[in-house]
C-alpha cells in the first residue's frame, strides 16, 4: 500500500471561483522522494494540505474523491489523532510554524514529542539527534524567535525529524535556506527515504532537486499531467509546455535554441559546450 494515495480528488477553497484540485490522482511510496512541481496555482501546495488533512478540516472548502494517508482518510478527526506524529508537514514560512511558546530551540524541537507524551529521556535523545542532523546543535539554547529565516526553517524541519515520520510533506522547504541548508535538506530527504519514509516535496528548486528526487510529478490546472524520472522530464520540453521549469543550465540551453535532450547540470553543460 502506498503511503499516500489520492484518487480522483477535487478540492475547492471556500468562496473560490474554481477548484484548486481537479480529478487529481497521485501515489507516493515509502523509500522514495516524490517531487511535485507546477506553475503558480497548479495545485501542488493544496495537494499537500489535502494529504495532511488540513484541507478541508482547517481551511474549509469542499473535497471530493478518495484520500488515503498511511491508510487513513486524514480529513476525519479520528484519523487526525491517529496520524499524529506519523506525518510531517513543513510550510514555506518558518516564522509561523514555530510553536510560539518555546524559549529555546531545544524546547521548540521537543514540542511535538512532548505533546505525544514521550518519556523525557527519549525526547532529549531525539532532540539532540535532530539538531545534529540539521547542523544546528550550537543553536540549542538560543531563542527561536530571534534567529534568521534560514535558521528557523532548519528548526522547523528538525522539529519534524525528531518524530521520525512515515510521511514527509514539504511545501517549498528551501524557500528560506542558504546553499548549505539546502544541501543538508537534500541529504536528509535521501536518508529519510532510505529509512523507509515517503518524502513528498512541492518545490520549484529544480537545480537542487534534479539529483535528489526519484520521481517528478508535474501539475497543471490542479492535477498531475506528467510523472517520470526527473532527469528524463527536465531534459525535454514537456515541463515547459506544462508551465513548469527546469534547471538553470537546461533553461540556458533552451534559450539558445538547442535541441533536446538538454543538459541539466553545470558539468553536463560544460561537457556539451566545450566539445
Amino acid at each position: 500500500m502506498s503511503a499516500l494515495q489520492l484518487e480522483g480528488v477535487g478540492f475547492t477553497y471556500p468562496g473560490a471561483p474554481a477548484p484548486a484540485l481537479r480529478r487529481c490522482s497521485l501515489r507516493a511510496d515509502g523509500g522514495a522522494v516524490t517531487w511535485l512541481m507546477g506553475a503558480l496555482g497548479a495545485g501542488t501546495s493544496t495537494a499537500l494540505l489535502v494529504a495532511a488533512g488540513l484541507a478541508p478540516r482547517h481551511t474549509g472548502g469542499e473535497r471530493t474523491g478518495t484520500v488515503l494517508t498511511l491508510g487513513l482518510d486524514p480529513a476525519t478527526p479520528s484519523s487526525a489523532t491517529a496520524l499524529g506524529g506519523r506525518v510531517a508537514l513543513v510550510l514555506p514560512s518558518p516564522a509561523t510554524q514555530l510553536s510560539g511558546i518555546a524559549e529555546t530551540v531545544a524546547q521548540e524541537v521537543a514540542f511535538a514529542p512532548a505533546n505525544l507524551g514521550w518519556p523525557r529521556g527519549r525526547i532529549h535523545e531525539g532532540v539532540a539527534g535532530a539538531l545534529a542532523a540539521l547542523d544546528i546543535a550550537h543553536l540549542a539554547h538560543r531563542d527561536p524567535g530571534t534567529l534568521s529565516g534560514g535558521e528557523m526553517q532548519r528548526i522547523v524541519i528538525a522539529a519534524m525529524l525528531v518524530l521520525q515520520p512515515e510521511l514527509w510533506l514539504l511545501d517549498e522547504p528551501t524557500s528560506a535556506l542558504d546553499a548549505a541548508g539546502r544541501a543538508i535538506l537534500h541529504r536528509l530527504m535521501r536518508s529519510e527515504a532510505a529509512r523507509g519514509a515517503a518524502v513528498v516535496i512541492a518545490s520549484e528548486d529544480a537545480d537542487g532537486l534534479a539529483g535528489v528526487a526519484d520521481r517528478l510529478v508535474v501539475f497543471e490546472e490542479g492535477r498531475p499531467v506528467l510523472d517520470r524520472r526527473p532527469d528524463v522530464l527536465l531534459r525535454g520540453g514537456e515541463v515547459w509546455a506544462a508551465g513548469a521549469g527546469s534547471t538553470t543550465i537546461a533553461e540556458l540551453s533552451r534559450a539558445t535554441g538547442e535541441a533536446e535532450p538538454r543538459p541539466l547540470t553545470v558539468e553536463e553543460g560544460v561537457a556539451r559546450w566545450t566539445r
Binding site: 488540513l54 511558546i101 514540542f111
Partner: protein, 247 residues
C-alpha cells in the same frame, strides 16, 4: 520573561505570580474606599519590588498617568456634592474620593499585571500545567493571549517600516495621518489572520491537539512557600470580597 533568572519572581512556581495578580485584582476591586485601595496599591508595589520586578511598577505609570488625570478631571473637578477648595480650585469631595479609589485600583491591577508579564515564562507555565495533567489547550490559551501583544506590535513595526520604504508619509496634518492608517492597518489584520491559519496548521501537525497527556520537559518545583503564598493570596482576596459584601 524580561526579569533576570535570579529574581524571586523568576524562581517562583509559574502559578504563584498568576494567582497573586488575580488576587490583587479581586481584592482591589472589592476595596470599599480610597484608604483600603491605597493600602492595597502600596502593598502591591512593595510586593512587586520584593519580587524583583520593580521596573513593572515604574512602567505602569506610563499608561496610568493620563488615566489618573482623566479620573481627577471627571470626578474631582466635574463631580457633584460637597465642594472643597484646593490651590484655588473648587473640587468635589466625593468625586476626589472616587477618583482616588479608582486610581489606586487601576494602579494596583496595572502594576501586578506588568510584573506578571515580566516574570512570565511560557515554557515554564506550559510545563507547570502539563505536570498537573491539565489539557495543553488551557496553557496555550493563556500563553497565546499574553504573547499576542508583543507579536502584534512587532508585526505592526515591520509593516510600518515596509510602507515607509514604499513612500508612505506619516507626518503632516491629522487628515494625512488618518489616511496613512489604512495601509498599515489592513496588512496588519490580514497578516494576523493568515498567521492564525498557518500556526493552526503547524500546531496540529505537531500534535498540539492530541489527546495524550503532555510530557513536562522541565517541571518547575512547587515549593511549600509557593503553595502558602497562593493560599494566603486567595484567602485575602476572598476576605476582601466578604468585607465588601458585609459592610
Amino acid at each position: 520573561m524580561t526579569l533576570p533568572p535570579g529574581a524571586p519572581a523568576s524562581r517562583a512556581h509559574p502559578f504563584t505570580p498568576l494567582v497573586l495578580t488575580l488576587a490583587v485584582a479581586v481584592a482591589v476591586v472589592s476595596a470599599p474606599g480610597p484608604a483600603a485601595a491605597a493600602v492595597l496599591y502600596g502593598a502591591t508595589i512593595l510586593g512587586v519590588l520584593a519580587a524583583g520586578a520593580g521596573r513593572a511598577a515604574l512602567r505602569a505609570l506610563v499608561p496610568l498617568a493620563p488615566l489618573w488625570l482623566f479620573l481627577f478631571l471627571l470626578h474631582g473637578v466635574l463631580g457633584e456634592g460637597d465642594r472643597i477648595v484646593m490651590a484655588g480650585v473648587s473640587l468635589s469631595r466625593d468625586g476626589l474620593a472616587l477618583a482616588a479609589t479608582q486610581a489606586c485600583r487601576l494602579g494596583a491591577i496595572a502594576t501586578a499585571s506588568l510584573a506578571l508579564y515580566a516574570a512570565f515564562s511560557p515554557a515554564r507555565f506550559v510545563d507547570a500545567v502539563a505536570a498537573r495533567g491539565w489539557p495543553f489547550a488551557l496553557s496555550y490559551l493563556v500563553v497565546a493571549t499574553l504573547l499576542a501583544l508583543p507579536r502584534f506590535r512587532a508585526r505592526a513595526a515591520a509593516i510600518l517600516e515596509a510602507q515607509r520604504s514604499r513612500g508612505l508619509r506619516l507626518q503632516g496634518n491629522p487628515f494625512r495621518r488618518a489616511r496613512a492608517l489604512a495601509p498599515v492597518t489592513f496588512p496588519l489584520l490580514l497578516g494576523a489572520l493568515a498567521e492564525v491559519d498557518e500556526r493552526g496548521f503547524a500546531l496540529e501537525t505537531r500534535c498540539a491537539s492530541g489527546v495524550t497527556r503532555r510530557t513536562p520537559l522541565d517541571p518547575p518545583r512547587d515549593s511549600v512557600t509557593d503553595r502558602a503564598v497562593r493560599w494566603l493570596a486567595g484567602l485575602a482576596a476572598a476576605a476582601m470580597v466578604c468585607w465588601r459584601v458585609l459592610t
